[in-house]
Amino acid sequence: MPTSLTIPSALILDAILSGRCHGFDIMDATGLPSGTVYPALRRMEKEGWIVSRWEDERISLQEQRPARRYYAITAEGEAALAEARRRYRVLQHAGIVNPKAQHGGSNA
């Protein structure tokens, strides 16, 4: 179903594509609130633009933390993002990092 992307969803896809792969990490990267990010993730997963998987317990145990849910972009997701980039000029400057996220950064 060729549903078009909203700007927040495109930002989130963009963040996932650039390696931000779990909820709070994506919030840090995009600066979007959790009330936007999570429903968007759920919706995009339903659309088949992203997939999620649970982190291997062994790794999380090794790192002394609970297992996380990781999101990855699918081929359809990349196509949708490319389409969105053509539509929204704001997205053409790739590698968006939210300047407000002072303590941001990946620790995955």
């Binding site: 779990h22 909820g23 709070f24 919030m27 609130p33 959790s34 009330g35 936007t36 990010v37 999570y38 429903p39 759920r42 919706r43 339903k46 649970w54 999380s60 145990l61 002394q64 933390r65 609970p66 297992a67 996380r68 849910r69 303590h103 620790n107």
Partner: protein, 891 residues
């Protein structure tokens, strides 16, 4: 690994309750993991500010949004699944689904059409800006009634003195033969004071409108513009010829606007300054304060209310009475009144409003009952379906589907059926609306509004459809709620028992259906009988074998009044020279098609009571008219050629006149006269009473005057013929055209047709009520059939056992029939009581029918019992033919 602090875990445990059960676990794990990492990371920072804590709190709050999204999505997907499932169910039971949709369509369609008609008559606002602030203003009549016309001098004085009305405009309508580019169109022309369009705040769709100081010409209606000018903008600046005067067209009124009252629709509006040119004598006539020919429309001043306007009108009326006692007194000597009514409530004579409301509510009661009956039937059908799907539901419940989930699915299935039924009902309604409007108008004796299905009716119907779905879904939903897992699973395999408990809910539904059907059936019997009596009732005059044509010689009169009588004489001679003509006569009007005019008379030897109506209906007729239309002359003589303008004035009265004014004594030789003068009109004959407006009316006192002594420019020529009356219609038209000026003969009609149109509404109403009654019987019998059929189907084993144990087929049949009789009997008992109540409510609408007449109730009992038993007999026979071995094998 340290644990996440319990405050966070408690929060997630609360929020996860929002999410659907299946994903709660994942939801909590994901949020806890993220929060854990974030908190651990915060601990590594040198300084954690208040803002950082707030940010975390904000993110945690978002979990609620996440959970809500999951829940909503779950619902949405569930509903989508239910819709798909519902469509599958509809296709799985095509016959019963179609029946449900059809029943709903009928029930809703009838209601929608009625609503459309009632809405347009009682609640619709004229299509002008702020219609709720537009008022209609009335001056009370000499003899009392409040809703009379006003005079131009009064309107002009009102305009100067009122503070509560910002605009006041007087207007009247006049039927004219209007010439547009050589073509004649018969239309109503509104002659108004120049403030008309400012009062209504109408802006033209093309050109401009006239207003005080700029009265350049006429405004045409959108419809007239489309019909006569093909919607071309070149219409602006062209001219319409009215009574020989070319009036420039300056603008086109907005689409749909044809006036503020259904009684005074217009196709052309013209300021009085132009009307004085097209209507010679109008200026002098309107200038008199006692000449009240104008309807008045006004707009409330900003900030003013109808209450304030009403009290101001009281003061102004008193002042007018003081200033102009002659023209402002009523017959009791008191002052006349000014009444201000919202224009929305003055679409027709406001004194008729109560009558129309009563008819509307009676009709709604009727169609409402029908809809309830439809709902009961639907409920019934759905319940039957639910029961046959008990196995399916039990399996689904045991697989974890909640009660709410199953109820929702059923509800959505009902909604789907309702949606289909509503769509079909709307189609039906759009076809039925004009017919229903005509019926309402005829029953209420007001002009028929021109209308189609409107938006409010559409919304009303959609709402009703949903309501029907809910109502019909209650019983099945309750039933699903009660499904007991184990017993149902067992029972779905082998049904048993025809006990009262099993058919319980359905039994009540059938009893209710039978009861309601009895009410509807009795009402239908009463109304059909009443309408049949109306149709066969004698009008007191004969309408067959006659062709009529109205002449309009006002153009001739405008130039040379003296030429008119000779032209009329020529027309009569031309008509009489046609072959096969028995008799030719003239009358001032065809009393069925138009209201009779009234004149105030004093009657010798009769003292009017205070407030008594003084206007007496008159009809001017030529010698031979009575013979032509077969009104029997009872005493005295008919008019003859010696009754002329120079001979003594004479009149003929009807029996009712003699009864009312002369206590039934012989009127021949008695006298009538104009008020204030010596009575000088001698009565020379009496005729039988006739009915003109409708067959239900009681006869009116009527005075016939000789046409020669009371001439008109637009007489109706009546021709009675031998042989083919339709051929004579064509012949008459060409014959008259050959001797009269162009455009002065209106299309010739058959008198029987004209009268028939008047009675068509009654015929239609009769057909509709009969159809309703039939529908009610049909629905009730379907109900009985459905219930008995299911009961038999479910007691296959029991019946098989009985047969195996020696019960005869006759015994089995009578067992089933006995059960059906109990249901029908119970319903009938309540139904007959309800019918008696309903009949009493109907009695004002009945003509020569006694609502308590037992024949109608007996009829309903016989019909319903017969139909009900036949409906039950089919499944009973099936039961009796059961093969006991096969039946017992289902164990």
């Amino acid at each position: 690994m340290p644990e996440l602090p319990s405050i966070y875990r408690a929060w997630f445990r609360v929020v996860e309750r929002i999410a659907p059960a299946g994903v709660r676990d994942e939801f909590r794990r994901e949020w806890e993991a993220e929060t854990w990492s974030y908190r651990t990371r915060m601990e590594t920072w040198n300084r954690v500010s208040r803002a950082d804590h707030l940010r975390l709190a904000g993110r945690l709050a978002g979990a609620a949004a996440d959970a809500s999204w999951l829940r909503i999505n779950h619902w949405r997907e569930g509903i989508l699944r239910d819709v798909v499932c519902g469509i599958r169910q509809i296709r799985r039971y095509p016959a019963s689904s179609m029946l449900a949709v059809l029943a709903l369509a009928l029930g809703l369609g009838v209601n929608a059409a009625l609503f459309s008609g009632v809405y347009a008559l009682l609640w619709a606002a004229p299509p002008v800006p702020e219609p709720e602030r537009v008022a209609a203003l009335f001056t009370s009549d000499y003899s009392g009634p409040a809703y009379g016309n006003s005079s131009l001098p009064d309107v002009e004085e009102l305009q100067k003195q009122t503070r509560t009305l910002s605009h006041v405009s007087g207007y009247m309508t006049s039927g004219e033969a209007v010439e547009v580019a050589g073509q004649i169109a018969r239309v109503e022309v509104v002659l108004s004071t120049p403030e008309y369009f400012d009062t209504l705040r109408l802006t033209p769709v093309a050109g401009s409108v006239y207003r005080p100081g700029n009265e350049a010409g006429a405004v045409v209606s959108h419809r007239f513009w489309e019909q006569q000018f093909a919607g071309q903008y070149s219409a602006i600046g062209s001219a319409v010829k009215i009574n020989g005067v070319a009036v420039p067209v300056i603008g086109v009124a907005p689409r749909g606007f044809e006036g503020t009252s259904i009684e005074m629709r217009g196709a052309i509006w013209m300021p009085l300054s132009w009307s004085y040119r097209t209507h010679p004598g109008l200026r002098e006539n309107l200038a008199r304060r006692d000449s009240r020919g104008l309807s008045v429309v006004a707009r409330l001043a900003p900030g003013a209310s109808f209450e304030q306007a009403a009290s101001e009108m009281k003061v102004l009326a008193a002042a007018f009475h003081k200033e102009h006692p002659q023209s402002w007194s009523t017959r009791t000597g008191a002052g006349r009144l000014l009444t201000v009514v919202p224009a929305m409530k003055a679409q027709f004579d406001p004194s008729e409003r109560g009558n129309v409301e009563a008819i509307a509510s009676a009709s709604f009661a009727f169609t409402g009952l029908l809809l309830i009956l439809v709902c009961l039937n639907l409920a019934h059908l759905l319940l039957a379906r639910t029961i046959s799907r008990r196995g399916e539901f039990a399996v689904r419940r045991s697989l974890g589907a909640g009660e709410g989930r199953l109820t929702r699915q059923l509800f959505i299935e009902n909604l789907l059926l309702a949606a289909l039924g509503t769509a079909a009902g709307l189609l039906l309604a759009s076809a039925a609306t004009p017919a229903i409007a005509q019926v309402l108008a005829v029953v209420a004796q007001i002009p028929a509004p021109e209308l189609s299905l409107n938006t409010p009716a559409f919304l009303f119907t959609a709402g009703l459809g949903i309501l029907a779905a809910i109502l019909a879904g209650i019983a099945p939903a309750l039933h699903t709620g009660r499904i007991d897992l184990l017993t149902s699973l067992r029972q779905s395999a082998n049904e048993s028992g025809m006990s009262r408990q099993r058919t319980g809910a359905r039994g009540y539904l059938v009893a209710a259906e039978v009861g309601l059907s009895a009410v509807l059936l009795v009402a239908a019997f009463l109304l059909t009988d009443s309408l049949a009596r109306q149709q066969s009732a004698s009008l007191g005059w004969d309408t067959q074998k006659q062709v009529v044509a109205r002449l309009d010689l006002s153009d001739v009169a405008a130039q040379d009044r003296a030429a008119v009588p000779a032209l009329i004489e020529k027309a009569v001679t031309a008509a009489a020279s046609m072959p096969g003509v028995e008799q030719v006569a003239l009358a001032s009007t065809v009393p069925v098609a138009h209201r009779l005019s009234r004149r105030g008379y004093q009657v010798e030897g009769y003292q009017y009571q205070p407030g008594e109506e003084r206007g007496i209906h008159i009809l001017a007729i030529s010698p031979g008219y009575l013979k032509t239309v077969r009104i029997p002359l009872l005493r005295g003589r008919d008019f003859n050629s010696r009754d002329t303008t120079t001979s003594p004035r004479v009149a003929i009265v009807n029996q009712e006149f003699a009864r009312r004014y002369w206590k039934g004594e012989d009127p021949v030789g008695r006298k009538l006269g104009f008020p204030g003068a010596v009575p000088d009109i001698t009565v020379v004959g009496t005729v039988a009473d006739t009915k003109f407006l409708s067959v239900t009316q009681s006869p009116l006192p009527l005075v016939y005057l000789p046409f020669a002594q009371s001439p008109t420019w637009s007489p109706v020529i009546h021709v009675r013929v031998h042989g083919n009356v339709v051929e004579h219609r064509e012949l008459l038209a060409s014959q008259l055209d050959s001797v009269l000026p162009r455009g002065s003969v209106l299309p010739a009609r058959l008198l029987s047709e004209l009268v028939g149109e008047r009675l068509d509404g009654a015929r239609l109403a009769s057909a509709l009520t009969a159809a309703f009654g039939l529908l009610a019987v049909l629905l009730a019998s379907l109900g009985v059939y459905g219930v008995m059929s299911f009961a038999v189907g479910q007691s296959t084993r029991e019946i098989g056992l009985r047969i195996a144990l020696g019960a005869t087929r006759k015994e089995v049949t009578s067992m089933v029939l006995a059960r059906a009789t109990r249901l029908i009997g119970t319903g009938m008992l309540f139904g007959l009581v309800g019918a008696a109540v309903a009949a009493k409510q109907l009695s004002p609408f009945l003509y020569q029918v006694r609502p308590a007449n037992p024949i109608f109730y007996l009829g309903a009992v016989v019909v319903l019992t017969a139909v009900g038993l036949i409906a039950a007999w089919i499944p009973a026979r099936r039961a009796a033919r059961l093969d006991p071995q096969a039946a017992l094998r289902t164990l």
